[in-house]
């Protein structure tokens, strides 16, 4: 533990100012108090964190106020995931607070998760006092160095007079442009309660080196509209950028106006209602047949807030071989990174779509837009419907074992489609993406880019805190859930009535599936041999545990679980361990080279 035990709590002038709700600007505050007051001024509701030596001054300042609520997690990884889940569900910036050394390194997985999915987050990490930085002091790591490749930006605060401005900058950077996590590393002496300086929190911040693009280039948008109006086989391909950029309304208008088919990445699900007929389902490695075939045959691809990830494109040489590509993205470096595009448009998705809609309406006022009713696009739809009739998500509904797909469909029915669903990583994640049609953005919360097992439960905590009255569930597998299982204690402490829906197949299902396909069924270390009794485990944490083994019991059990409005319920659903996720495009294959479910694969593909 570091030196400098803080003085026992006494109400300082800052605490009095707090009580009187006086404007804090100009009041003398210590560094620790500045951290907390800055969070108050940012409107932060929750800080997810875990105390330790280097952040004790900050924790003492937290103790003396009530406006920022601190949520004590049981592992710093969960602090980052919970802040991330909060951010994904609300669109606000997630905040976490961790100590130096292991506190910071534990948070790195969560920071990298947020970075890969462009989630706005500010991480305040303690650091050893400035005079001992670099001396291999107790609980010292180079946090700025370790996090540098997985943050949008990071800061080491070396002067208390820069603290407030640095925190303001951190929030500004995290939430603007392409969002992302920002780490503020604060050495312990900077938060010294005995050194007070006048507090000033800058409302406006200007950085000469950082000017995120807002509006798209009108000339480029015009070129895009020209292409769209000529399209015979158009496809709209959307990603997480539509959710992050709050452009769901514009997207829906665009799709309705044009009548173009739309598909989405894993990250973009819900930005366009998945129950709508114009939605082709998810695309990519486990996307639908119709979505991937449409991608393969399209002549004009309109990519919106998506980044041509390898899980979407498959083999680049086979990606959309006939298409002119329009790409709207707020991050210039996303454009032509993996796939060369013809019409790049850099700007905020919502603003670009506004401009695009205006132009479309001007250009084709008679038809109320583009070419939905034009013969070529009607023919295109005919082809798509043919692909759709393949019923690529077909599975055996009469099985004596619970099929994971059935579990997800039942979850949809029991929750009436009104659910915030967080997920871990693996087969259950793909089944959820395929079988739970989200009709609103920010309802489907999962780690897409980094693929972090252990994300789901802590993320659900952030979501449930943000929306205490909403139904929140975490779909998981028995391997993933164990990676952050300790958070069941946090859920009890804060009375979070999350429902864990565990699709328990005894295997790391996705690993097993790959081993079956590509390693001649040598199931190397993918069988989880010593599973806990999840019912007793949940009970030992003070929660309700339930186990279902037969399809006939499933719906009633789920209804019972979701009926317990004020309880955390852990529903252990024993599913068929042999089930695989289909369709599947093997790594390195083209989008048109899908494996379909065995029941369909006698009909070979294009």
């Amino acid at each position: 533990m570091c030196s400098g035990i803080p003085e026992a709590g006494r109400a300082g002038e800052w605490a009095q100012a707090e009580v009187a709700k006086v404007d804090p600007n100009g009041v003398e505050l210590s560094g620790a108090e500045i951290v907390v007051q800055a969070l108050v001024d940012e409107g932060v509701e929750f800080v997810f964190g875990y105390p330790g030596g280097a952040v004790l001054h900050i924790y003492d300042a937290l103790f003396k106020q009530e406006r920022v609520k601190h949520i004590l997690v049981r592992h710093e990884q969960a602090a980052a995931h919970a802040a991330d889940g909060y951010a994904r569900a609300t669109g606000k910036c997630g905040v976490c607070l961790v100590t130096s050394g292991p506190g910071a390194t534990n948070a790195v997985t969560g920071i990298a998760t947020a970075y890969m999915d462009s989630i706005p987050m500010v991480v305040i990490s303690g650091q050893v006092p400035t005079p001992v930085i670099g001396s291999d002091a107790f609980q010292e790591v180079d946090t700025v160095g370790i996090t540098r490749p997985c943050v949008k930006h990071n800061f080491l605060v070396k002067d208390v007079s820069k603290l407030a401005e640095t925190i303001r900058k951190a929030f500004y950077i995290a939430t603007t442009g392409r969002p992302g996590p920002v780490v503020v590393d604060v050495p312990k002496d900077i938060t010294d309660p005995n050194i007070k300086i006048p507090y000033h929190y800058p409302r406006e911040i200007r950085m000469r080196s950082y000017h995120p693009t807002e509006r798209g280039h009108l000339g480029q948008i015009r070129r895009a509209v020209d292409l769209m109006l000529q399209a015979k086989r158009p496809v709209i391909y959307t990603g997480g950028g539509v959710v992050l950029g709050e452009a769901s309304a514009q997207l829906q208008e665009l799709v309705r106006l044009t009548g173009f088919p739309i598909t989405s990445t894993l990250m973009g699900l819900g930005a366009y209602p998945m129950t709508d007929r114009l939605f082709l389902g998810m695309l990519g490695m486990h996307g639908t047949y119709e979505a991937n075939m449409a991608m393969h045959e399209t002549d004009v691809l309109i990519a919106i807030g998506a980044r041509f990830d390898d899980r979407v494109t498959g083999k680049i040489e086979h990606f959309c071989p006939h298409a002119k590509i329009i790409h709207i993205d707020v991050d210039p470096s996303s454009i032509s990174k993996n796939v060369r595009v013809d019409v790049p448009i850099v700007g905020q998705v919502a603003s670009v779509l506004d401009d695009m809609l205006k132009l479309l309406k001007e250009r084709a006022p008679a038809t109320h837009g583009a070419s939905a009713k034009d013969q070529p696009v009607a023919d295109w739809w005919g082809k798509i419907e043919e692909w759709r009739r393949m019923d690529c998500l077909h599975y055996d509904r009469t099985s004596g074992k619970i099929k994971p797909q059935l579990a997800v469909e039942t979850l949809y029915r029991v929750t009436n489609g009104d659910l915030y669903l967080t997920s871990d990583v693996g087969q259950h994640q793909m089944f959820a993406a395929q079988f739970y049609p989200f009709d609103k953005p920010r309802r489907w919360i999962n780690s897409g880019g980094l693929g972090t097992m252990g994300f789901g439960l802590p993320a659900a905590m952030g979501v449930q805190l943000a929306y205490p009255d909403a139904q929140v569930a975490c779909i998981s597998g028995e391997a993933s859930i164990l990676m952050c299982i300790q958070e069941m204690a946090t859920c009890l402490q804060y009375s979070l009535p999350i429902k864990v829906v565990l699709l328990n197949n005894g295997y790391m299902g996705m690993v097993r599936q790959w081993q079956e396909f590509f390693y001649e069924s040598r199931y190397s270390h993918s069988y989880v041999d010593a599973l806990p009794d999840f019912v007793k485990l949940a009970e030992s944490f003070g929660h309700v545990g339930m186990r279902v083994e037969r399809p006939g019991e499933l719906e009633a059990a789920m209804r019972e679980a979701f009926g317990m409005k004020d309880r955390f319920v852990f529903l252990d659903v024993v599913v068929d361990p042999t089930e695989n996720v289909y369709p599947m495009i093997a790594a390195g294959k083209g989008q048109h080279e899908m494996h379909l479910p065995p029941s369909l694969s006698d009909r070979e593909l294009a």
Partner: protein, 172 residues
Amino acid sequence: MGTNGENDGMRHIIAVLLENEAGALSRVAGLFSARGYNIESLTVAPTDDPTLSRMTLVTTGNEEIVEQIKKQLNKLIDTVKLLDLTEGPHIEREMMMIKVRAERQDREELKRLADIFRAKIIDVTDTSYVVELTGASKKLDAFIDAVPEGLIVEVVRSGPTGIARGDKGLTL
């Protein structure tokens, strides 16, 4: 000795104005290693404005990769401005100090070589010279090639820096 890069289209000299903050250099170096970009040289020093550093880096790659490198550099929060000097007329200079063994029969030859290259001999001992030479990197390479085999003791090169021709400056 300005080169317009046309003969050597794969080589790019990129000038970057960076916030003169601790860690800015490591962000650039980390970017190149993390994304597997090729980096031939990198020099950095403060400018007349002490809050700004100017970095010159030389990289090779096809147009798509170099375009991506420039975008990624621009994306760094500490990057204020960036210019690919090889996109226009520019002047490239690198400084080299080279220590050569200069004994009886070689002394005159090395002196003459230095004169031909308009280099300066800036340190002399009974058995060695230190030669200072400034120019485009290719000129420095040529000098090294011209030194008779076995005489080079040590080579120190600054890495290239550059500036665009004309009245416009890479400033704020």
